[in-house]
């Protein structure tokens, strides 16, 4: 769909092409956004199920594309769907968030072994606590801190108000700081 050397087609074009029956457009959207969605899910505590949940989120997104109004970006919208898929998965399996104990999801902090160790430990604690946050606080926090999104877009994607999104974010930060300092 995207020709090398040419500027990327906007998501909206790909969505229109998919609606018109162009399967390749859907593939392009998956390739463009799946890694970000996987990161979001992994940080939310999806663990080994992250890959399957990414697939589930995109499947649901394309099937429910009529509900996509374009207030948030396609990527953010898929993340909100991914969060619901994660909630459904946990409810079905009765599982708690998967907390990374092996540091597999934790990136190296520096070349210094001691510094790396401390950074890994801190990151693991942050991730464990993020996964334990209430879903709305967790989603707002990750969309803001991990994905760098504006409150307006977060509020649209999560069907809440900008003010409520700010409150959720600050509650999440407060809770994480308290737990991590305790």
């Amino acid at each position: 769909v995207t020709v090398p050397g040419q500027p990327e087609r906007p998501d909206a074009d790909l969505i229109d092409r998919w609606r018109a029956g162009d399967e390749a457009a859907a593939g392009e959207l998956v390739r463009r956004h799946a890694r970000a969605v996987a990161r979001f899910l992994a940080a939310a505590g999806a663990g080994d199920e992250a890959d399957d949940l990414v697939q589930e989120a995109f499947f649901r997104a394309f099937r429910g594309l009529d509900r996509f109004r374009g207030g948030a970006s396609f990527r953010t919208w898929v993340m909100a769907i991914a969060s619901n898929a994660l909630t459904d998965f946990r409810r079905r399996r009765g599982r708690r968030p998967v907390l990374p104990l092996d540091g597999r999801d934790i990136a190296d902090g520096s070349a210094d072994p001691h510094g790396t160790l401390v950074a890994r430990e801190t990151e693991a604690r942050v991730q464990a606590e993020v996964a334990r946050l209430p879903p709305m606080q967790r989603d707002v926090f990750l969309m803001r801190a991990q994905q760098g999104l504006a409150y307006e877009e977060i509020a649209t994607a999560l069907a809440t108000s900008v003010g409520a999104a700010r409150v959720h974010y600050h509650q999440a930060v407060k809770r994480l700081r308290r737990v991590l300092e305790g």
Binding site: V30, A34, R39, A50, R63, A107, V126, V130, F141
Partner: protein, 135 residues
């Protein structure tokens, strides 16, 4: 003490490894395959008659018709009720009619005393009186 910026910096790196090891091609294949399958199922569901629903609708219609017919058959019409009652009255003798009237007199709005006594009435009059009481 961990400040907000430090927390955001750490959060920015969360899940990076999961994103990097994601098999994009596999996810794409999986999503497209599921979409094709769902599309096919939708098309089949749209064109295929739904036997179960049709059977249920037919069964409901039969039940309604049969139930309605049964109720209609078992419920006597007012004219039929009157004629049956009249027919049974004709099967009774004068004494039996008088006995019936006596047994009903406690609840009847028609005073048998006002008629001058049941013994004075013949069978035809007793029948008329009973029919009158029956309403």
């Amino acid at each position: 003490m961990m400040d907000e910026r430090e927390l955001e910096r750490i959060a920015g790196g969360l899940g990076r490894a999961a994103g990097e090891r994601l098999d994009l091609a596999a996810v794409e294949r999986g999503v497209l395959a599921r979409l094709r399958e769902a599309d096919q199922t939708d098309r089949l569901a749209g064109s295929r008659p739904r036997p179960l629903l049709r059977w249920l609708a037919a069964a409901a219609a039969v039940a309604l018709i049969a139930g309605g017919s049964f109720v209609t058959f078992r419920t006597p019409r007012p004219d039929q009720a009157g004629s049956r009652s009249a027919a049974s009255l004709y099967d009774l003798s004068s004494d039996e009619l008088a006995e019936v009237l006596d047994s009903l007199s406690w609840a009847s709005p028609v005073s048998t005393r006002a008629t001058g006594g049941l013994d004075d009435l013949d069978a035809e009059q007793l029948r008329e009186l009973l029919a009158l009481m029956e309403g």
